[in-house]
């Protein structure tokens, strides 16, 4: 099976008030193309930081991250932006729709950035898939939380990413809406054959993924289905 993401010996440290703060320490794992994976752990365990590094939003202090066979640490921030546009999709806990753009325009942006053709009809198609075709001209502020997250899903899939990163995708939603969003997320993911990495506190949501990595204090403490032989198990 092809590997879409390789994380090798990754550490992340920050300087704070003259002291070195280690947020991630010696992380190793890899993810197979088309698989689904959850990163779980308590607050402050380093899940979101690791997600940021894997998605190329930040660079590691030491170690390497290879996304779609591209070593990210060698790239400038602008080059990483190109990688994100071509290979990555995002879903955020607080939806992160651009407030001044309509739902339709929000979905169009990643395709416009790629220079794709027929972006409007493609975006409408995606909005239709998430059940919001009729709300395309509404601004985020005019949509409910669930609707905003559905637009966010449509946007995440609009550039046909190889890998989708979701940070607490249902963290701001009620149980009923959460379930609908989860179902939609997995359905779209299956259809597109995208790799899904999600960060969550929710064990039920994590259980829906094929693999679960637990984190605590900046290190991996368990992996239900390790694909790398040198994973350090601290339990």
């Amino acid at each position: 099976m092809d590997t879409i993401l390789k994380v090798h010996n990754v550490s992340k440290t920050y300087q704070s008030a003259g002291r070195t703060l280690t947020v991630l320490e010696n992380i190793n794992f890899s993810v197979a193309k088309g698989s689904t994976l959850s990163l779980i752990g308590p607050s402050g365990s380093g899940k979101t930081t690791l997600l940021g590094l894997c998605a190329g939003l930040d660079s590691a202090s030491t170690g390497t991250v290879e996304l779609a066979s591209i070593p990210l640490e060698k790239l400038s921030e602008d080059k990483r932006a190109l990688v994100r546009n071509k290979h990555v999709g995002f879903i955020f806990q607080n939806f992160q729709l651009l407030p001044t753009l309509t739902a339709l325009e929000n979905v169009m942006v990643p395709m416009e950035l790629r220079g794709s053709k027929n972006v409007k009809s493609l975006a409408l198609e995606l909005l239709d898939k998430v059940g919001l075709a009729a709300r395309g001209h509404h601004y985020p502020v005019q949509l409910s939380g669930g609707e905003q997250q559905r637009v966010s899903l449509a946007r995440a899939f609009s550039n046909q990413p190889d890998i989708l990163f979701a940070d607490e995708p249902t963290g701001n939603l009620d149980a009923e809406t959460s379930e609908k969003i989860e179902n939609l997320l997995f359905e779209l993911n299956r259809e597109a054959g995208t790799t899904l990495i999600l960060v969550t506190h929710n064990p039920e949501l994590a259980a829906k993924t094929g693999r679960i990595i637990r984190m605590k204090g900046g290190v991996l403490i368990s992996d239900t289905n390790p694909e790398t032989p040198n994973l350090q198990n601290h339990e």
């Binding site: 932006a81 190109l82 955020f92 651009l98 001044t100 220079g115």
Partner: protein, 846 residues
């Protein structure tokens, strides 16, 4: 990663448009700060442009003739011959200052008498009421008199005016003459009389200070410039100056370019203040956009794309602001000629100046983008990680782009002011002064925030703590408000102080126990009589002072010709053409002190006389003790040696001189005398003046009380124009204040609504706001006043060379007004929050 899809510019434009949707009114508010600065500049540029065109089209009327020849001695017959060979029409005018008397009411006044012969003016008219008076007065023993003077002395056409020994019937009132401004006529009102009666007045005597003019209408005006260049050496030799329509045009345009430069500078300061407002507003705007930019970066936008999206927004909004400013400036320009009419010698027909509009818009665009770049470049450093969690991003002082923008701004200010001043040194000092003012005001803001933090009154009531904490909490407006309000206050106060310094200087000169009346042009034969008359009127006096008119022929053998050829000689260009009025005596007065050399009060006929020269004049012209000065005393050459240099207190009302001769040299030279006295009141002054004019009509009188009134009038007119322009700075300051307060509304709205939700009363919100803005207004106004006191003291000390004791009452009024205005704007802004339900506001603003 070779695939690099090129983002089309149109997408950036679309994104800029989309992103601006919910912010357009705010963006317009940001840019409103520059509107008034642009308006001020466009109005001044337009005025300057229109003025230039009017001077061009009315140049002939400015001079009234093709050629004007001027000298201070009668024209030699061969000069008249040359003049006649140039033109087909010639007029002669002799001008001098003299007292006139209106017999109908006994009123007297020092005026400029123009004795005119011929058909002058050949272009334009002597504007009189009745219209025919300007031509007809030459046919009989009649005069035309300045209309303001006629109003002051309540005389009408048909009454008479006595000039010297002769009475003239007033043919009409004079409202305008070629090249004459309203201000000039208020300093020395003009009375025209026919030249044929000049002799009869008895005012043309040996030693009288008369300016002789010949006005010509020439046969071939096109060749005039070339002909005059050929004649220049000959005319120089005869001490004859000439003016052509072309040179008059240049002189007039030059003098007004100085005025428009100064006014442009005031407009530019308003624009700079506005730009600081723009930079501050954009800074906050960018902070609010961090999460949008981070999401765009997550989706694959490059940092340059994000930067360009916002740069495009600012450029368009800057353009709109500049266009609005240009329209406003063009409207204001329609009213400026009315304000400046007393200073302008041409009629101005307001019009639209497209080059000025273009210049203003371009300037507005460049400067708004330049200042907005400071916060905009930080967009490049916004991490996409902010989409996951907002992290505090510290300002990076190491960013070389930031320093480049600072350099560009300083370079732009230097370059722009260089265009205004024409000299780098002035431009450098202006920029440095501005920079120091900004830094000082910025420092005060820092000091305030530091002090409030350091000495925070934890035990005080909640509203006080909250109001004070607002001064230093994140996103506070302390620095921007203190800089803009402080600078506006400093500018207004400085203008006020300068006006006060000038008025005080003259008031002091005309104060109690100081001579307040000067009688001059007293002939030697009249000395005793005038002194007796003064004593008879019980007036104090200290004898008379003799004055001899002379010119410098050479300084250490350097002549006018040498000076013209050699530009390395450090000497004032006009030193050989000016007329020196010197005195001779055997002792120094109490306003003089020898600083170098030795004063010798008596000269023997056998040796070369040693003169004493005023120290500053000597330094400016590289004159030292031991140098040789050759004088032309009305035709007789007189060599002298500089014996000493003197320091002179020019502020004292007494006869002070650049050059003093010892006794024993000039006694036989043609001379007149000056007498200074002190009159106790207006009635005595009028009675004494009437008596002098009746008995000694050639003697002129300067009444310092009258001069003070005239100066006050001029200064209040100039002051009005300056205040009008400074108002742009003040109003810009207020606009920046309003927009800063409104911007801070967006920052504070969440917490204010939260406070309301938690039960804060309307009164408490008002008190918190009032406390915050009172401290801001008070500190800004205080710092501005301190800056202006420093600047005004320096100007008083180094430029006007006088003491500086400011009038504190207006200063206190300014301090309180600025505080009140700042608090009022803050409170009006809070009304929005306290008068509506919290949820409604949150829904609108989210």
């Amino acid at each position: 990663m070779n695939e690099n899809p090129r983002i089309p510019f149109s997408w950036l434009v679309t994104m800029a448009w989309r992103d601006s949707r919910r912010n357009r009114s705010r963006l317009l508010l940001f840019v409103s700060s520059i509107i008034l600065g642009i308006a001020a500049l466009v109005s001044i540029y337009s005025l300057s442009d229109v003025l230039k065109k009017e001077i061009d089209s009315q140049a002939a009327e400015l001079l009234g003739a093709d050629l004007e020849l001027t000298t201070n001695k009668p024209f030699a017959p061969e000069m008249i011959k040359i003049a006649d060979s140039l033109g087909n029409k010639r007029s002669e005018q002799r001008s001098f200052t003299s007292m006139v008397l209106f017999p109908s009411n006994g009123g007297t006044r020092l005026v400029q008498v123009n004795a005119l012969g011929g058909d002058f003016p050949y272009y334009g008219e002597l504007e009189t009421e009745p219209v025919t008076a300007g031509r007809d007065f030459r046919k009989s023993k009649a005069a035309v008199v300045d209309q303001t003077l006629m109003l002051q002395f309540n005389v009408k056409p048909g009454d008479s005016v006595k000039v010297g020994n002769t009475s003239f019937v007033i043919a009409g009132s004079l409202s305008g003459a070629p090249g004459q401004t309203g201000i000039a006529s208020s300093v020395a009102p003009v009375v025209y009389i026919p030249i044929t009666y000049l002799e009869e007045t008895g005012l043309q005597q040996k030693g009288s200070r008369i300016t002789y003019k010949q006005y010509l209408q020439v046969n071939n005006p096109r060749k005039l410039e070339t002909v005059m260049e050929d004649l220049r050496p000959r005319l120089n030799k005869e001490n004859i100056n000439f003016d052509t329509i072309e040179s008059q045009k240049k002189d007039t345009a030059r003098s007004f370019s100085d005025v428009t430069r100064f006014l442009s500078l005031v407009g530019f300061i308003a624009l700079l203040m506005g730009c600081i407002g723009v930079a501050s507003a954009i800074h906050i705007y960018v902070k609010e956009k961090i999460s949008t930019i981070a999401v765009l970066r997550c989706l694959g936008a490059k940092s340059s794309h994000a930067f360009l999206i916002y740069l495009l927004q600012i450029t368009v909004i800057g353009l709109i602001g500049s266009i609005i400013g240009a329209v406003l400036g063009t409207i204001i320009q329609q009213f400026l000629p009315a304000l400046l009419k007393d200073f302008i010698p041409v009629d101005i027909h307001p019009g639209i100046s497209w080059p000025s509009i273009g210049q203003g818009i371009l300037l507005g665009l460049i400067i708004s983008v330049l200042f907005a770049l400071l916060p905009l470049i930080s967009i490049r450093n916004i991490s996409p990680l902010n989409a996951l969690r907002i992290s505090l991003q510290s300002e990076s002082w190491k960013d070389p782009m930031k320093w480049l923008v600072y350099l560009l701004i300083i370079g732009f200010v230097l370059g722009f002011t260089r265009l205004l001043f024409d000299r780098w040194i002035q431009s450098f000092f202006f920029t440095a002064g501005l920079l120091i003012s900004f830094l000082l005001l910025g420092l005060m803001a820092r000091l305030l925030t530091w002090s409030v933090r350091r000495f925070f009154p934890s035990g005080w009531a909640y509203v006080w703590r909250q109001g004070l904490a607002n001064l230093y909490r994140p996103n506070n407006q302390t620095a921007i408000l203190i800089v803009t309000i402080g600078l506006g206050t400093a500018l207004i106060c400085t203008l006020f102080f300068i006006q006060e310094i000038l008025i005080n200087r003259v008031t002091r000169a005309a104060g109690a126990n100081q001579p307040n009346m000067v009688l001059f042009d007293i002939q030697t034969a009249q000395r005793e009589g005038i002194m007796d008359l003064t004593k008879a009127n019980s007036l104090v006096m200290n004898g008379t002072v003799p004055i001899v008119n002379m010119r410098l022929e050479s300084v250490n053998k350097i002549t006018a010709a040498t000076l013209e050829k050699d530009s390395t000689i450090k000497m004032w260009k006009g030193i050989f053409s000016r007329e020196f009025r010197v005195t001779f005596r055997d002792s120094l007065t109490d306003s003089e002190k020898i600083t170098t050399g030795k004063w010798n009060g008596v000269s023997s006929l056998l040796s070369i006389a040693e003169v004493s020269v005023e120290e500053r004049f000597a330094t400016q012209n590289s004159i030292k003790p031991g140098d040789t000065l050759l004088w032309n005393v009305q035709g007789t050459m007189l060599p002298t040696i500089v014996g000493s240099l003197r320091e002179v207190d020019w502020n004292r009302v007494q006869t002070n001189f650049l050059v003093v001769f010892p006794k024993g040299v000039l006694e036989e030279a043609p001379q007149f005398h000056v007498l200074m006295t002190q009159v106790p009141d207006k009635e005595t002054s009028a009675r004494f003046q009437q008596a002098v004019v009746r008995q000694y009509p050639n003697v002129s009188i300067i009444d310092l009380g009258l001069i003070l009134n005239v100066l006050d009038d001029i200064l209040s007119k100039i002051g009005f124009i300056i205040r009008f322009m400074a108002a742009f700075c003040m109003v810009t300051g207020i606009v920046v204040l309003i927009s800063s307060v409104l911007i801070s509304k967006y920052q504070r709205i969440q917490e204010s609504v939260l406070l309301r939700t938690l039960g804060a009363s309307r009164r408490q919100i008002y008190i918190i706001t009032a406390i915050e803005y009172f401290f801001l207004g008070a500190l800004a106004a205080f710092t501005g006043i301190v800056l202006s006191l420093g600047g005004s003291w320096a100007m008083a000390h180094y430029i006007f060379e006088t003491g500086f004791s400011p009038n504190w009452l207006p200063v206190i009024i300014v301090l309180f007004s600025v505080c009140a205005l700042t608090v009022a704007i803050g409170l009006i802004n809070s009304r929005f929050i306290v008068s509506r339900p919290p949820l409604e506001i949150l829904r609108q603003e989210v």
